[in-house]
């Protein structure tokens, strides 16, 4: 689809509007390109969204203006869009959009939903995440290179433990590691397991790694955010774009690429071709399941 496709274009039964609207002002990237991007990565992306409550970040006026988080289906949501009511004790349920198919993905892109943040837990088992998440966020003046070094250490660690771990760029400053787990442990247990892991790495490399929640006290180090494993917290999906200059994507990479990759190379312009040529390094993640205790070195090495 060319960015010049004008209002009234219909894809998958979704009416597309204002495709020429510039969402990334620094390089003129338009909403048409956003829709085209998500359509072209849908095959790799949709398995990570399907059946999961989704939070999106919308930038109808482009990333130069404030965007907003949206979980509830907005007014005018087509009847065929699946939704999920998240029940919470003592509170009214919150309705989420669930992106099960390409039509919903295109509809979201047309709403200028740049960032896609699915839950780690599926609608069918909202209390049981499918992944333990390790979010490596270098706090300035620390840079991506610092996150890379911590990821290299973690990569060694997972290899030693025989744990399957999947790596992607965050699309911002850092890196995300996903550890697929057999469903069972709740958010708290997963959070605690990742906290143990983070504590261990901090012990091994205190001048590089921090678990401080106070921003001021973690400057210059890589913040290992194990709290992203809590209920209702999310990381952006693999292949989700980010609302940052250059339209970067959170891109799955092979561990072998880590020493050389440059995160700025993965953008709305490059990722579809990379996916078509080199394939998806995360193709197997949803088939891979391992017991959470495998992360818990206390049981392995007691």
């Amino acid at each position: 689809m060319s960015p010049s496709a004008s209002a009234g274009f219909v894809a998958d039964g979704v009416r597309l509007t204002n495709l020429d609207k510039v969402l990334w002002p620094s390089d003129g990237t338009t909403k048409g390109q956003l829709v085209a991007y998500y359509a072209s990565v849908a095959r790799a992306l949709l398995p990570h969204l399907r059946g999961r409550p989704l939070v999106v970040t919308r930038y109808p006026e482009g990333i130069g203006r404030p965007g907003f988080y949206q979980k509830r289906p907005p007014p005018g949501t087509p009847p065929w869009v699946r939704t999920f009511a998240s029940e919470r004790e003592g509170r009214p349920p919150v309705r989420y959009v669930v992106c099960d198919d390409e039509a919903t993905l295109v509809w979201l892109a047309n709403l200028a939903a740049i960032e896609l943040h699915p839950w780690a837990a599926p609608c069918a088992r909202p209390a049981c995440p499918d992944f333990a998440l390790v979010d490596l966020d270098p706090m300035p003046p620390a840079t991506f290179d610092d996150a890379r070094e911590v990821a290299l250490v973690l990569g060694d660690h997972f290899r030693r433990l025989g744990v399957a771990a999947f790596l992607k760029t965050s699309g911002a400053r850092g890196l995300h590691i996903y550890l697929p787990i057999e469903p069972g442990p709740d958010h708290r247990e997963v959070t605690l397991a990742v906290r143990r892991l983070a504590t261990l790495v901090r012990r091994a490399w205190p001048e590089k790694v921090t678990l401080e929640r106070a921003r001021a006290r973690r400057a210059g180090r890589v913040y290992v955010d194990y709290l992203q494993n809590q209920r209702g917290h999310t990381l952006c999906a693999p292949y989700s774009l980010r609302a940052r200059p250059g339209a970067p994507a959170s891109c799955p990479v092979a561990w072998g690429e880590l020493t050389r990759l440059r995160p700025a190379d993965f953008t709305i312009r490059t990722v579809p071709r990379r996916l078509a040529v080199a394939g998806d390094p995360w193709a197997d993640i949803l088939r891979c399941r391992q017991p959470l205790p495998a992360l818990d070195r206390a049981r392995l090495f007691a």
Partner: protein, 265 residues
């Protein structure tokens, strides 16, 4: 004294520089709210129920609800145009006898101390109020509101008591006469008065302890000394040494690689 603000008391041509601070303190045991699961202190987040977004302070305006669900917006600029008495001045309007002021009007006491250059006029006002038995009714601006205050002497200090406005008193609605009560039996009255006089003592509030607060404090102290302490995440656990050693080896290799790259590149 913790100084809340510096300003002046003024009446007629007299101008007394003062510092104002609290005259009372609340020593009740205070609790914080923790997440029951992981004992992290919770925070409040303002959320818009319509869009579900968290709302920042710069995105909030004042609304006056003139009928249910209907608002007018009042902005800072609107308020700046309103007349307020000179800030930080306690302007004495009139002097009245202290026993004319029923304690129901008293709201909160603040202590005044003379600021530089204020000692002599301060002392003069203290002595004058003591000798005349009068108190000064004053106007002041406190927390964006115009308040009525009462200047009085307590142990040689000036106290400023903020006062409720007459229209704020619920105990005597406007125009309401004395409460209508049945006339007691004279003999019962005599016995009751006798009982009161036998129980009469000099006023000494320190004799009356807050037994609930004392028990609460004891409970907390017991929990603290009994190590019944909960810690918010993260709690340090001793990691197994073999894994830690392996990780340190990884770290060493990376740091070494970086040093080599630095030399060659």
């Amino acid at each position: 004294m913790r100084v809340l603000w510096k300003g002046a008391v003024s009446f007629g041509l007299v101008h007394i520089p003062i510092r104002l601070g609290p005259a009372t303190v609340d020593r009740a045991v205070r609790f914080r709210q923790l997440h029951a699961r992981d004992h992290t202190p919770i925070r409040y987040r303002k959320e818009c129920p319509a869009c579900g977004e968290t709302v920042g302070d710069d995105e909030i305006v004042r609304g006056f609800e003139f009928s249910p669900g209907e608002f007018v917006v009042v902005r800072d600029e609107d308020l700046e145009r309103l007349p307020l008495p000179t800030r930080r001045t306690i302007e004495v309007l009139d002097f009245v006898r202290q026993d004319e002021v029923d304690p129901i009007y008293y709201e909160r006491p603040y202590r005044l101390e003379p600021a530089e250059g204020g000692e002599r006029p301060y002392a003069l006002l203290v002595r004058t109020l003591e000798r005349t038995g009068k108190v000064g009714l004053s106007r002041l601006a406190l927390r964006q509101r115009e308040r009525l205050g009462l200047l009085r002497v307590y142990r040689g200090f000036l106290l400023l008591e903020t006062l409720h406005r007459p229209e704020d008193l619920l105990a005597a609605e406007a125009g309401e006469a004395r409460a209508q009560l049945p006339e007691p039996d004279p003999r019962e009255l005599e016995v009751a008065e006798e009982l009161v006089s036998r129980l009469s003592v000099p006023f000494d509030p320190s004799r009356y302890r807050d037994r609930y607060q004392a028990a609460l404090r004891e409970l907390v102290e017991q929990k603290v000394s009994g190590r019944e302490i909960v810690l918010p995440a993260p709690v340090e656990e001793a990691p197994p040494q073999d894994l830690l050693a392996a990780l340190r080896e990884s770290v060493r290799r990376i740091e070494e690689g970086r040093a080599l790259a630095g030399r060659t590149g």
